[in-house]
Subunit: 324 residues, 2 copies
DNA sequence: TTGAAAGCGCTAACAG
DNA sequence: CTGTTAGCGCTTTCAA
């Protein structure tokens, strides 16, 4: 591995010159630049990023924490975040917390060790104390972590209202809402309240059932779906995340329930899976790409100490489908 | 930010002592250790990972390159890889290449710059020359990159045979196989040949249709599904990736085709989505977790220069379902 | 315009 | 058992 010293010697110039030529397009005379370029070429020189990092005190990488990536919402989110960060010149460090004991702490630790320039936190956290007094840049994605940590999220009140609007075009009497675990408050959780408020005003009965903590797979939601049909025999509407609603759809069809005649379904999130089944799911779509881009810009802004007063919230939209 | 110097001063010992105490559990007298610990505590000292990296010439991070993470197979793969690497003490750097111009080159470049200790390459590559003569550790996941680069992959010949076995329990006459783009040869591609060979021997007609390059979404596969039913009116069996087959299922059901009476479907990969639709898909399951763990061990082995003669291949299994 | 040299913060070999 | 010091490879200020 050739080092900058070797290049300098080969080019017959000093180390400082090589560094300057390599990092500043407008430095040095054409002759000098050429000499350096040639030496680089000849020695196949590749600068060490570790050394640059230490010298410049930054890593150009951002950490992303999510519960899992095997879930359509987080998959799309992570991919979009990675892409946005990439275009801003940042690399992406990934951490999935669902299956791990205390990966969150370890990851926060790596942040403090300056292995990353900042973090976008998209996982639930039970231990929000971890985030108190952290000096490094952090933003939350649709999560409450601490009062000082800013949050990028969709306008879930509007989201709940959109869902309500969809249902209100039909004759529903009893709607079940499926929510994530209530152990942790999240902005996303708020669409349920907004929804309920509207439905209540319209005299529609609503129910709230919840998934277990850290549940993101199909198994849990299928189980919950069975329970819902058992417990609420007259349910004629269901609102929940894509995965939850897809599970309910599956169970309902197996039971011979006619969709959408006997049961209306609205999925919240609007990921690709709402489009991939036998029925296209009617859905409230979170603008995932746009939220990701916003989050990426915000974290880079924080890293560079750039104040930014633009809003941190984006509106969801209603996606027409065949289930409501 | 306190540095090691400050800790040394505070503890009344030398810098070297602090470093040794912090990094070697068996160094120093209890008294000295205590003094150091206390100073660390008091100053809230956190070592700089950048400095350690430079000093130790390693980053403890591994890069993962995949085309996308918004696809159940890669999602499960990335999650499992990240988890295995985590337990081996490595961080995960993620790069999705599908939407980016030449992210692959950029990522390989980061490898050469020693920003990562090694790479697990799970994306197609048109430019395999990139991988010639790379000095850093690389392993491929189900991809041919260059003769020197070892590959972790499922035994796809067995996979093809398992699929064949499933179909042969029924009366199929005309089976369509859906393959990825043929622009690049992959180990996974080989299940099609193995399958065809068996079917041919049994006198069953098979067809091979292919998806466009870098196509991983539902839109393309739905389109292809339509085309298949248009073009092959007498098709009574379909074999392809989870996503492809799920799309065919959707189109078939809409056309009123009875599953599995009139059409048998076998999905290759066996991700969660085979279990989440209205019909459980019969599937050949790649042992994703195990492959990921294997890949993680292999790359760490290479990084540490540990020779390892254990096999690089794992067998898939047949997952019973309702579509064949 | 270029070169010399002082860091960046930590590790580990070496000497005491 | 502990302290000193020479790197790790690069950036950039400061002189010349």
């Amino acid at each position: 591995m050739a080092k900058i010293r070797d290049v300098a010697r080969e080019a017959g110039v000093s180390v400082g010159t090589v560094s300057m030529v390599l990092n500043h397009a407008d430095y040095g005379s054409p002759q000098i630049r050429k000499k350096v370029q040639d030496a680089v070429e000849k020695l196949q020189y590749v600068p060490s990023e570790m050394a640059r990092n230490l010298s410049l005190k930054r890593t150009m990488t951002v950490g992303i924490i999510v519960p899992t990536v095997s879930h359509p919402f987080f998959a799309e989110l992570v991919e979009a975040l990675e892409e946005s960060l990439y275009h801003l010149g940042y690399k992406t460090m990934l951490c999935c917390t669902r299956q791990k004991e205390n990966a969150e702490n370890v990851f926060i630790d790596m942040l403090q060790r300056q292995n990353m320039d900042g973090i976008i936190m998209g996982a639930h956290s039970l231990d929000t104390a971890l985030y108190q007094g952290l000096k490094q840049p952090i933003i939350a994605f649709d999560r409450y972590l601490s009062p000082e940590i800013p949050i990028v999220h969709a306008d879930h009140v509007l989201g709940g209202q959109l869902a309500a609007k969809a249902f209100l075009q039909h004759e529903c009497r009893h709607i079940v809402q499926i929510a994530g675990s209530q152990m942790v408050k999240t902005p996303a959780g708020e669409y349920h309240q907004a929804f309920q408020k509207v439905m209540q005003a319209s005299g529609v009965r609503t129910e709230l059932v919840t998934l277990p903590w850290n549940s993101f797979g199909f198994k849990d939601s299928l189980q919950l779906a069975e329970k819902i049909f058992d417990e609420y025999r007259d349910v004629d509407g269901i609102l929940g995340s894509d995965v939850s609603v897809a599970s309910c759809l599956q169970v309902a069809v197996r039971k011979g329930i006619k969709i959408p005649e006997q049961l209306k379904l609205v999925a919240y999130d609007g990921t690709d899976i709402t489009q991939s089944g036998i029925y296209k799911l009617t859905a409230v779509r979170q603008p995932i790409e746009e939220l990701a881009e916003l989050a990426a810009k915000k974290i880079v802004g924080l890293i560079n100490g750039k104040p930014d007063a633009s809003p941190w919230t984006l509106p969801p939209t209603l996606l027409a489908g065949e289930t409501c």
